[in-house]
């Protein structure tokens, strides 16, 4: 490869207006193709560092900053109307009377019904934060006819605790996936449909 692209092509350009000769800016050996491979490597490494850093911050700071046990916050959640049956979590922990529909061994923990205000389900907020919440489907707005497509609800989220050993799924037939991080558990109330 070293014999290839000996003068590379990155030679001219300069500042000259019309009529002025192009001045070679880099007369030495410059293998553009190798330079392009190097650029791709640098871009991939840089992006990987940026995304790994972002992921690390999300994992270790989300539970510490603002998401404190006993606090309340406004959350926006995007849903489809089938999510009352699509979303489920599995955990052996019961926090403040709230529990998942399934135990960690994936056996149903009693009757699984979204109408149960104590049954936890996994939700993603519009800011990509995963949480376990109970009571969303019992809000009065959610008992009205819901939009056919994706919609957003705004709820008050009262954080009762944190859970680490849990698994979640986003479709009734999908297998449960273990969550590799600590996420908040709480009650969702005053949910209003954003129109």
């Amino acid at each position: 490869m070293s014999s290839d692209s000996a003068t590379g092509g990155l030679t001219a350009g300069g500042e000259g207006r019309e009529g002025q000769p192009d001045v070679p800016l880099r007369p030495g050996r410059c293998n553009v193709l190798l330079l392009s491979f190097l650029s791709l490597g640098l871009i991939a490494f840089g992006l990987w560092v940026v995304s790994a850093g972002k992921q690390y911050r999300e994992e270790y700071s989300q539970d510490m900053e603002g998401w404190r046990i006993g606090s309340s916050r406004e959350v926006e959640i995007t849903l489809v109307k089938e999510d009352d049956r699509n979303l489920a979590c599995a955990s052996d922990q019961v926090i403040g009377g709230l529990r998942c529909g399934y135990r960690l061994d994936q056996q149903a923990a009693g009757a699984v019904s979204p109408a149960d205000p104590r049954m936890l389900q996994p939700y993603n907020t519009v800011e990509s934060q995963l949480l376990l919440g109970a009571g969303l489907w019992t809000s009065s707005d959610m008992k009205q006819p819901l939009p056919a497509g994706r919609f957003t609800v705004s709820c008050s989220y009262n954080i009762n605790g944190m859970v680490r050993a849990a698994a979640i799924r986003f479709a009734p037939t999908a297998p449960f996936d273990r969550i590799g991080k600590t996420i908040p558990v709480g009650a969702l109330s005053d949910c209003t449909l954003r129109r």
């Binding site: 350009g13 330079l35 392009s36 940026v50 790994a52 919609f151």
Partner: protein
Amino acid sequence: MNDAVSTRASGLASAGWKAVVAWRPRASHPLTGYLLALMILGGVVLRIQNVGYPFRQSFDEPQYVAAAHQFLIGAPDVGECCHPPLGKLLIGVGMLMVGNNPAGWRFAPLCLGLFSIVLVYFIASSLFEDRRAGWFAAAFMAADGFFLTYSRAALPDMSLACFVLWSLLAAITARGWPGVLACAVLVGLAASIKWVGLLVSLPACFAILLLRRAPWYSIVSFAVVPFVHLAIWMIGLALIGHPNGPLDVLTEMRRRGQIHLGFAHGVNPLESAWYTWLVLYHPIVIKSAQVGAKIRLACSVGNPVLWIAADVCLVALPVLGAAAALSPRWRERWRGWFDVRYSKALAILGVSWVSMMLLWFTRRITTYWYHYLTPWGIALVLLGGVVARLDRRFPKGVLSFVLVVLAVFIYFAPVWAEIPLSLSAAHRRLIFPMWQ
């Protein structure tokens, strides 16, 4: 000792600064250079910011992410019906590096989207032997919504465009057998993302023969293309536990080819004929999400100013070329405007654009907006070269053009990069119903 270290450090810093100054975007008007740098910086930031949003899959992403996941876990590839494995394997590499999450799904297209900006710089610089052509081309690609949106989606189209551009760069800079062989390997990889990538072998051979920097007979190296393609298939089939001998690969290719050719015209409302791409008729909204009262959109409509300018180049240059070929008077004029080197660069880019459109001209298969991504990258290189030439004669005119491109880039950025905005603001930008 400390003095020696500090002297060395300041020497290095000074050398680094000199390199930055020497390589910064330059044009005849100093302000143009700064605007180009701003466009590139803005394009890079917009591509990277919130790439993990939305955290669900949109448009065709479920097919490709599911297929990539199947390659990673060794399950049969039922996620995606019709394409060779490399595009999905690349998405899988991103998922290995960053995780099976939205940022992981979109990692590889984002890398290759950013890399494409670097590639068009190298292609235009090398082809026109003028670094300002490279800076113009890179800035135009950075400030274009079509490339921006596809850099942020877990789809194979960005990867295909990138490998096609990379193959062209290899052909243009090849000085001997190793360069031509590298070009052939890249062509094989492009064809292993989507079969249409094979067409880049035409302009690659044309460039090698026209530029005469490598021996003409070195194009024999293109014999490795089918072997590269076969190797990618064999790796892909092995990963999902299928029989992966050469005959098994042929059977699988034939099966997928039949599915691809079997799609009926006029069924999918997103379908669009190739000639509509030239007038931005039916771009696709590849992501959309409601955020409270606002929406976040990724509409793949291109930068309209760049589109018009590139269309003018694509129409005017062949007309002028034909006039120069037929009339001695126009030939003299052509020679006055363009030297031999520049004419060859225009010819290579023209052949490249036409070659990458050949399959779509035939209308053998159903065509969609995103099929124009690769030819559009070539059109942007052409535009970069033309504007760089005009910059020498009309620096103020080019400055005005760049200002307009930048203004349109800023105006459209929210509907390209999923920045929250109101529905009415989105409709003001996406004025035509087919854009929404």
